[in-house]
Amino acid sequence: MDPFALKTLNAERRARRAAILVTDIGDGRDRVVKEGDVVAGDLGEAISRAFRTGLSGTAEAEGRQFFLNVHLPQPRLVVVGAVHISQALAPMARIAGFPLQIIDPRTAFASDERFPDVELRAEWPEDVLTHCPLDRYAALAAVTHDPKIDDFALKAALDADCFYVGALGSRKTHAKRVERLLSMGATAAQIERINAPIGLDIGAANPAEIAVAVLAQVIAAFRSRGLGAKTTSEAA
């Protein structure tokens, strides 16, 4: 392995950015491809697929055999609102493999009794997200219904290009939210990325079922990254 490639790869991994180490198994030469780099031909296609699925493996291209080792930052889920839905979502997210952080400044909601074994921050999203910023490998679900708590986090998630942004509330609630976000400087393309009402439409009828719908939507968003759906870069 080229020492420079190793340094580059580790720098990307430390910064929570996706990268693939592409090794030509025939001659041992390797290079780091960062997400967004353009690679032509069959190899380029294999690289795009690997970024999307996160699966490492061998690929044949131009008569050569390559090994693609994919290093994706671990996707994580940030939930604003220590509410009933979040209580159901916490164990589900753990099972599905998403590290979860719950933020809610209301200490009556954000209590360890209600959320055992969860990274719980009884603080304002403004404070938490400044120290622990969102990124493209974070999903944000805002479920407090309270603009004072949800709005800042939603705007931050759109600006960070989170792979998923969802907000609880009826269409009517969301229409008002859209106006507020626009006045905060969000673009129409960004607003389009918000999943509202939140969750896949499975007819969820209680908090646990809404949690299933949200988690399924998060997974769908993660696995369809780069497929031209709701991404700011393409919509802009």
Binding site: M1, R13, A15, I25, T58, F67, Q74
Partner: protein
């Protein structure tokens, strides 16, 4: 600056970079293909220095010994090697995977 997103003390590629900075000779072994039941997924690393110190894994401990001795050769020669382990080729290797799977491991020198 250490990253809060990586477990730097146990991350094989971070450790390999540290060894390199310390001037050590290093080999990196990578699982490039698996068939059947394999204990470590494709992409897993075992990193080895010239003294045989190692971090990470390419199996559940079944073939690490063999990979390490091959790695020491690779460090010496600079020639990368593709190793294959599995129950199917007991004649080629003294060690195999007790789980019944097969793996291919690419061993290369760093630098």
């Amino acid at each position: 600056m250490p990253s809060k997103f990586l477990d730097e003390a146990r991350d094989p590629l971070i450790i390999a970079e540290g060894w390199m900075k310390d001037g050590k000779d290093v080999a990196i072994a990578t699982v490039v293909e698996t068939w059947g039941s394999a204990p470590r997924p494709v992409g897993s690393h075992l990193v080895i220095d010239a003294e045989g110190t190692f971090h990470g894994s390419v199996s559940g401990g079944c073939v690490e010994g063999a990979v390490i001795s091959e790695a020491l050769e690779v460090i010496g020669s600079g020639q990368a090697k593709m190793l294959e382990f599995g129950v199917a080729d007991e004649t080629a290797w003294q060690v195999g995977l007790s789980c019944g799977g097969r793996i291919r491991v690419y061993v290369e020198r760093l630098g």
